[in-house]
Symmetry: C2
Subunit: 339 residues, 2 copies
DNA sequence: TTGTAGGCGTTATCAA
DNA sequence: TTGATAACGCCTACAA
């Protein structure tokens, strides 16, 4: 089924057929409707490869999921990917997905391959790193991209930033009001902007609320629940352990709660725990997890919308969208007196 | 960066360069290493569009996630997609992902577009329907595909089938041994093979275990936790409500547990609940959910491996892989005496 | 062992 | 308003 067959059947030139189908103005109405009808009847769909080759674009965007363990995946990503996928459809884009361990050679390999082979027109990033090779590479190679976080590499791009200052102030105030004053922080890899940013806001919020920042109460994990588990065990074993733990994301929070229960303590009463993300299971965990909720699905949509504009060279209303996430208090921060 | 530039730089013809890079035997060793070295230096990557056009394949496979609610997504899919993605990489394939509401026009639209535009070489399906237009269409159009379930359309394809006979026998035996004898079933849409199959095995297992099959204890939902919630409320409101509920998947099970708690009953003691899938949060829910665990990540990998072979026209050792899933007993089926 | 040339299906330029 | 024709970058008979 090619344009040529339609042309032959109608006794037209392929040029005319092509133009009729692409909606060019210089085609008579009669010809256009005829061509459109025939194309539909014959079940014609333009060959993607030929289009890509000729138009020099693929109408496809890419996203690489940072893979961690073989089997499980942070639900953050399912929500994020769902958001990307749906927004891609509405922007008439396809979504190419791959997965690779963060910050490793394979990962750059995939980016490079996608970019150089012109498989994609743009890329969505998240978990941006402080010195992010991907950002540098994409920028240097002129490949449109957007990201969920800002960068410290002095490179500008359309992005969504989820603030956490207010939320952390509220959270720490809330936790302190319950009487918990040794508030620990389980973060992620130091290379992540996310870690840099949330950690600094955690420290600020401690001070603002008249608490003391104790470096012994900070452990860095890798954003998985098992790392939350391990980190918490470590925190519980120090001489003067914390009575509250703020986790950089919900997954870490699940692991933390697990470790606390296993130590025979009661989450919420003996030790408060909070997460970040607002993934669905945070509401159904044992106990339900206090978290800072960010609209992951919508964020993904915003990113794709911006990326689509960027690709088409259209102006983007807001190059930098900032969002205020929502503190959701649940039973993991009940307080010693319980509800 | 094209093959032509390399050729010009080395004073060779593009043919030779092409053949050297593609590992054809009829190139002198000297030329080959020279070309390879230069290509690497110049950062050459073959243009995907040109390749696709010429080779008439895209080295890309597709998967469409059935979208339900706007925001949340069954973790089954994150695990499945992660498995697809990783296996795609190892098979040197790209993975194109989209999402569409199951069994609706948009969905077929995407399949048709992908197939006819030759964007993909193969497709992975799951949640196969009893009269599945996708299966019929793909088969009719000669597009390689694999699926997680069998089909009743008389069409054969490489697939993975997760048996449930033994698991359901064990599960119902276990539940009955706790004294629960009115065992309900919350299923999915009637059109799904999954529903047809699991439901029939549920019925068989009831009989085998000397229990009575009561149609009033069967409700069909849509595999989401909210449908599990609603279905359970309905079951609890009938004159002679069940004291155990077997859910077609874990998500439904979460909703069921939620509804039971909300009704002031204790999950596990008053009413037993079981799911199917073995998704991660089933272990961390309140209470942890008894489930039939299937290796979703590995299944996805097997499907991609089969699909890759099918695409290349290579023989597939086993056109039909059957797996025996694993019953995992947790506190949601503690029993009235419970610990 | 290397080169010439044609074509994959579209789109874009130019002329009619 | 329409048509002939030349690319896009790669692969592959076929010829040298």
């Amino acid at each position: 089924m090619t344009i040529r067959e339609i042309a032959k059947k109608l006794g037209l030139s392929i040029t005319t057929v092509s133009r009729a189908l692409d909606g060019y103005p210089d085609v008579s109405q009669k010809t256009r409707t005829l061509v459109e009808k025939t194309a539909k009847e014959m079940g014609y769909t333009p060959n993607q490869a030929a289009r890509m080759l000729r138009r020099k674009r693929s109408d496809t965007i890419g996203y690489i999921i940072p893979s961690t363990r073989p089997r499980f995946m942070d639900p953050f990503y399912s929500e994020f990917v769902a958001g990307l996928g749906d927004a891609a459809v509405t922007n008439a884009l396809d979504l190419l997905v791959s997965s690779a361990p963060a910050d490793q050679a394979v990962e750059m390999q995939i980016y490079r391959n996608w970019v150089q082979s012109r498989k994609i027109d743009g890329i969505v990033l998240n978990r941006v790193r402080i010195q992010d090779k991907r950002v540098q590479y994409l920028f240097a190679n002129n490949m449109p991209f957007v990201a969920l976080e800002f960068s410290k590499d002095g490179i500008d791009y359309p992005r969504v930033e989820v603030l956490c200052e207010t939320a952390y102030q509220q959270l720490i105030k809330h936790i302190a009001s319950l009487g918990f004053r040794r508030i620990a922080f389980i973060g992620g890899p130091e290379a992540l902007i996310l870690q840099f940013y949330r950690f600094s806001k955690y420290k600020e919020a401690l001070i603002t609320n008249g608490l003391i920042y104790d470096p012994n109460l900070v452990v860095l994990g890798d954003l998985t629940s098992s790392s939350g588990f391990e980190s918490t065990k470590r925190l519980l074993s120090i001489p003067d352990p914390p009575n509250a733990i703020i986790c950089i994301n919900d997954e870490t929070g699940f692991g933390a709660m697990h470790a606390i229960s296993e130590a025979g303590l009661i989450v919420g009463k003996d030790i408060a725990v909070a997460g970040f993300d607002g993934i669905q299971n945070a509401a159904f965990s044992q106990p339900p997890l206090t978290t800072i909720d960010q609209p992951v699905y919508q964020i993904a949509g915003m990113l794709v919308d911006m990326l689509a504009k960027k690709i088409k060279g259209q102006p983007i209303q807001q190059e930098k969208i900032t969002l205020e996430p929502n503190l959701i208090i649940r039973e993991s921060t009940t307080g010693p007196m319980g509800k």
